[in-house]
């Protein structure tokens, strides 16, 4: 369909071989001369006043180079949302969850560091704890933070349209609930950090982060170092999914230890620390009342939600907004009310995780649509098709969808999964242990605003043409965390410059290279993609202008293709250029002798003319969204949408659930790399499946995680994942580079409700508490039977 040579193909990832052969360098692989090892003292208590910290025994242990607490670190507040900075590098007055950071040690080896941490004596006065998010705001509950009155750190009260009017127009109104559990993102690579200072006071930190830029800012702010003296480098990263998108206490602590000792310091989390640090999915308690007219068109949604976010605000402010705002699409919904409360409790802090804030809200809404379809006697896919938005429409909360393949996606999964043969059109359930269900989703393609509300460019790209000629290097601060953004940048650059992928080098993930807000909110392909294209075009223009001048032709008549300069205006005489190039390369073999001027020749001669050639590109979204409070969250230059169909088998006597198949269709605008789009869809489905069926952090009554390891915290194994059919819909997004928009998070949105709806079809029971374990399903089936019998 396209004239592209590189884009829209299944080009292998630029890092594939290195990762497959173990050559890729992750932070924990790094070693520096004189490197020390850090360990952190985590609070064993969920809520306590710190009376005294005695580090003297730790300091005396041979091999210990530094012990730091709040006394050394200071108490500059930091966090994610500037209005809610509620963290300090170390606890000073209180600890607020089991795992809260109290002190850190640097020592000559890890054993010594760990031993030293054990020698730090902390006197606590235990305080009563808050564990249940539903009652955290109640009067008389212990207070975690002075700044979060009633343990509420953010609330949203929105009313768009008129829900009373919607209520009056409704033929069916129903109210349902759904709650979930806190989760872990279960990325493969535990957080790892290495920091080093130079004699001029510069600080470099290597970290497995998703957002070098934000981390750089927080380090500079909390450690009080000029921003330009802080450099954050992201080596290869083994997954992030959100929890690595903000600066952590551990990152700050390791930098502080490096500054104190003047030596490089490293810390790699144990898996248990990944769970303790968390910053993963919140716990949600949703209640929704939805009304529809007789014909199935939506008349209103009234939505209440409490988000239990653990001990600190982290990303939670954005989370509570996203929970409400992203229900504005993908259906036409004129009247929507949302009351969201984000509370703090004595558990590890939650933050952003794939599908930020919107996943459980989406799950309940899509379940409601199925229940309404059943009451109406309507096919649930028909009900959805009746309500889907089309490109060019704006949601009631002022989100403008410039491209929208929702209808195509829904029809694609319906047809591909042979829905009509498997599901009765009257909306009746199949029962008997076999079920099929469908759902849709809607997600941003990059947050419309930076977290620190500024006019900053969201990304810049600097593409430097090799001075020797022949290749280019793309310099970008963007973060490839395994999702493949480096490959996207290489493909865009190769496409624009007519090069092969092998001649494009991508240097990324380094705050010194360029500004880039990082890998979150599914922004990189759209935003950095724009900047990357602009940079490549800028470089190309300079090369072509330089050689056109030499040959006395108009630069517009020249183009770069397949490694050559092509002329659109008949033959050109490039003999002078070639002569100069050959002159420079005496003794080389395989020199160009063909009928076309090569890119190597053109770029070298252009350098001889101009000096270093650097193309630059930048991107920032136009002002977006309405003017109401919180209108910025949920805005995006573009929106992705997905539909999925799940087929399940349920053992009616044990509650065991087997996923038989999931068919998904996602509108990514345009697939820059087809395999990578499918990969994001597959990964999203697996992750959503885990959330639907098995993942939950379990706490004991003292706020300690019972299952802080990957044996007891279950994510799907390869054997649990059914055959997946990934269908790509391309709606050609006008605001995306080449028409591209997101796929990284949008594809997770329909997974949970698709599975819940399929389980209902198989069993006739609804579960309003996630995950749906065999036991919960069994209990629900038993309750239904008991009621009948």
């Amino acid at each position: 369909m396209s004239d592209y040579r590189i884009l829209n193909t299944r080009a292998p990832r630029v890092d594939a071989v290195d990762k497959a052969t173990g050559k890729a360098i992750y932070t924990d692989d790094l070693r520096r001369p004189g490197m020390l090892y850090a360990a952190i003292l985590h609070s064993p208590l969920a809520h306590a006043r710190i009376l005294n910290i005695d580090t003297s025994r730790a300091e005396q242990l041979p091999g210990v180079k530094a012990v730091v607490t709040y006394r050394e670190a200071g108490t500059t507040p930091y966090g994610v949302s500037p209005a809610r900075y509620d963290e300090t590098i170390f606890c000073h007055d209180k600890v607020r969850y089991v795992g809260d950071e109290i002190a850190a040690v640097a020592a000559v080896d890890q054993d010594t560091a760990l031993e030293a941490v054990r020698l730090i004596k902390v006197d606590f006065e235990e305080l009563p704890i808050v564990l249940d998010g539903r009652t955290a705001m109640d009067e008389g509950q212990p207070l975690l933070h002075e700044m979060h009155k009633n343990n509420m750190c953010a609330k949203v009260n929105w009313h768009f349209g008129d829900i009373e009017k919607g209520r009056k127009e409704s033929h069916i109104i129903r109210t349902d609930h759904l709650s979930s559990k806190m989760q872990d993102a279960a990325f493969m690579e535990p957080q790892s950090i290495l920091a080093e200072t130079e004699s001029n006071g510069n600080l470099t930190m290597w970290s497995s982060t998703q957002a070098p830029h934000y981390v750089q800012r927080t380090l500079a702010m909390a450690l009080n170092i000029p921003l330009h003296k802080v450099r954050v480098i992201k080596p290869a990263v083994g997954g992030g999914f959100g929890p690595k998108a903000s600066c952590s206490s551990a990152e700050l602590a390791v930098c502080l230890l490096a500054m104190k000792t003047g030596q490089p310091v490293k810390l790699t989390f144990d898996r248990e620390q990944v769970f303790l640090h968390s910053r993963a999915r919140h716990q949600f308690f949703h209640t929704m009342t939805t009304g529809v007219k007789k014909d199935g068109s939506l008349s209103f949604l009234e939505h209440k939600c409490i988000l239990d976010g653990g001990a600190y605000a982290s990303f939670g402010i954005a989370t509570v907004y996203y929970s409400g705002s992203l229900l504005g699409g993908p259906y036409r919904l004129k009247n929507m009310k949302y009351d969201g409360y984000r509370v703090v409790t004595n558990k590890p802090a939650c933050g952003a995780q794939r599908g930020h804030g919107a996943v459980i809200a989406r799950a309940l809404f899509e379940v409601q649509l199925d229940r309404i379809a059943e009451e109406l006697g309507m096919d649930p896919i028909e009900l959805r098709l009746k309500n889907v938005m089309e490109a060019g429409e704006t949601t009631c909360n002022e989100l403008y969808v410039s491209s929208f393949g929702m209808r195509e996606a829904l029809e694609a999964v319906r047809d591909s999964a042979a829905w009509k043969n498997k599901r009765s059109s009257s909306g009746k359930i199949r029962g008997g242990g076999k079920g099929i269900g469908a759902a849709c989703g809607f997600f941003v393609s990059g947050a419309g605003y930076s977290i620190y509300r500024s006019r900053t460019y969201h990304c810049t790209v600097v593409t430097k043409v090799d001075e020797v000629g022949g290749g280019v290097t793309v310099n970008s601060g963007s973060a490839d965390i395994g999702q493949g953004s480096d490959t996207v940048l290489a493909m865009i650059t190769a496409e624009e410059l007519g090069l092969s992928l092998d001649d494009v080098q991508v240097a990324s993930g380094d705050s010194k290279l360029s500004v880039d807000l990082g890998a979150y909110s599914s922004r990189t392909t759209l935003m950095t993609g724009h900047a990357c294209r602009e940079a490549a075009q800028d470089a190309k223009r300079q090369i072509l202008e330089a050689i056109a001048g030499k040959m006395s032709v108009a630069p517009e008549t020249l183009d770069l293709k397949d490694g050559f300069v092509v002329s659109l205006a008949g033959e050109i005489d490039f003999s002078e250029l070639r002569k100069e190039y050959l002159q420079e390369h005496k003794g080389f073999v395989d020199l160009p002798d063909g009928p076309q001027l090569t890119f190597a020749e053109a770029s070298r001669v252009a350098f001889l003319e101009l000096g270093t050639i650097v193309g630059t590109g930048k991107y920032r979204p136009p002002p977006l969204g309405g003017s109401f409070k919180g209108a910025a969250v949920g805005t995006s230059p573009a929106f992705g949408c997905s539909a999925q169909v799940a087929e399940v088998s349920v053992d009616l006597e044990t509650g065991e659930i087997t996923m038989d198949k999931i068919t998904g269709a996602h509108d990514c605008g345009f697939a820059i790399n087809v395999t990578q789009v499918e990969g994001q869809m597959h990964g999203s489905i697996m992750m959503g499946m885990g959330e639907a069926l098995m993942e939950e952090i379990i706490y004991d009554k003292k706020g300690r995680i019972v299952n802080a390891n990957l044996a007891e915290y279950k994510i799907p194994t390869a054997l649990d994942v059914p055959p997946l059919d990934a269908i790509i819909v391309e709606s050609n997004e006008p605001h995306g580079p080449y028409g591209a928009k997101e796929v990284g998070e949008g594809a997770i949105m329909p997974v949970i409700p698709t599975i819940l709806n399929a389980i209902y079809d198989a069993t006739g029971v609804r579960i309003d508490e996630l995950p749906v374990t065999p036991e919960r399903l069994m209990a629900a089936m038993k309750a239904k039977k008991d009621k009948k019998g």
Binding site: H42, P44, V98, G99, Q110, D111, L114, R118, D270, E272, Q273, L276, E653, T654, E656, L693, M694, I698, D700, K701, K702, R704, I705, V706, N707, A708, N709, A711, E712, K714, P716, T717, A718, L719, D720, T773, P774, E775, M778, A779
Partner: protein, 344 residues
Amino acid sequence: MLLPRFDVLVPETIDDACAMLADYADDGVRILAGGTDLLVDLRRPIIPQHVPRCDGCPTHPEGQIATTIECEPSKSDPLMSPEGSIRTKLADPKSAAPAFLVSLHKIDQLKGIELLPSGGLRIGALTTISEIERSSEIRKDWTALAHGADSLGSPLVRNRGTLGGNIANARPAADTVIPTIALGGKLTLQSSSDTRTVAAGDFPTGPGLSVLKPGEIVTDIHLPTPSPHSGSAYYKMANRKALEISTVGVAVWMVLEKPGGPIKDVRVALGAVGPTPILAKSVGKVLIGKVPTDEILVQAAKAAAGDARPIDDHRGSAWYRVQMVEQLTLRLLKSVLSGIENDR
């Protein structure tokens, strides 16, 4: 690494291993087979209470025994005794952080699966779970054990983990142990001073606890000669299809007098529903001597459920586990019966 420091001793014969265990007893010594349980147990947790198995060998932050760590039976490992505490067993502080590990991996006498002239089977304690999984003899005549091996961990864990380790570790959910008990397996235990035999069902005495004395090695496992008209099966129930500790595991072994009945002998062993694997003795009382009918099998399954002693924990509640014991026992009795009939 969050492992304590230790030295590894590598004997080449059982006698040498026994001698080392005796010699280093005072320094704290433990046996290392595949290490898939031991190394997990030895790992020092970041937060002491995070030890997922509080009946194992939790170490105090200072390397001492966890006398101050409270274990709450309802919230911690199901597999620990309902009464709760772990403190009693860990009398010797050194056993928590051993100075020496005696690795068995070079002892050939402990390896191999061998059909005995009697028709029985000897399995060396160091035989890996993968080797059991691949053995056609075991799959044919001691089927439940093959099922147990199939369901343990993942291919990587099965390649390292051993039958002896799974037994000696004495977990109530151990996937090869439940079948071994149902099959009437016997274990040989050897020390520098003694060799003795115990029934597999008598070996575990509590979660992580067994009759194994300090200095003793499990050397081999004997499975009896298969009777005519007999069969066995094991089913592990869990929330995912691999890398799981079961919510409930049930193994059934049955012998008929002749095709079509009556039942000559039966054993049902239950996993993860008590502090040790449980031999559901009431099942025999219902079934032995009876011609199998649907009603009597249902009764037998109820009897098995009555023998279960589960607790509520994060892997499942007691009511669900009891229900599953009944359901799985019924299914397995039926499938073993039809297996025997089809074998004719």
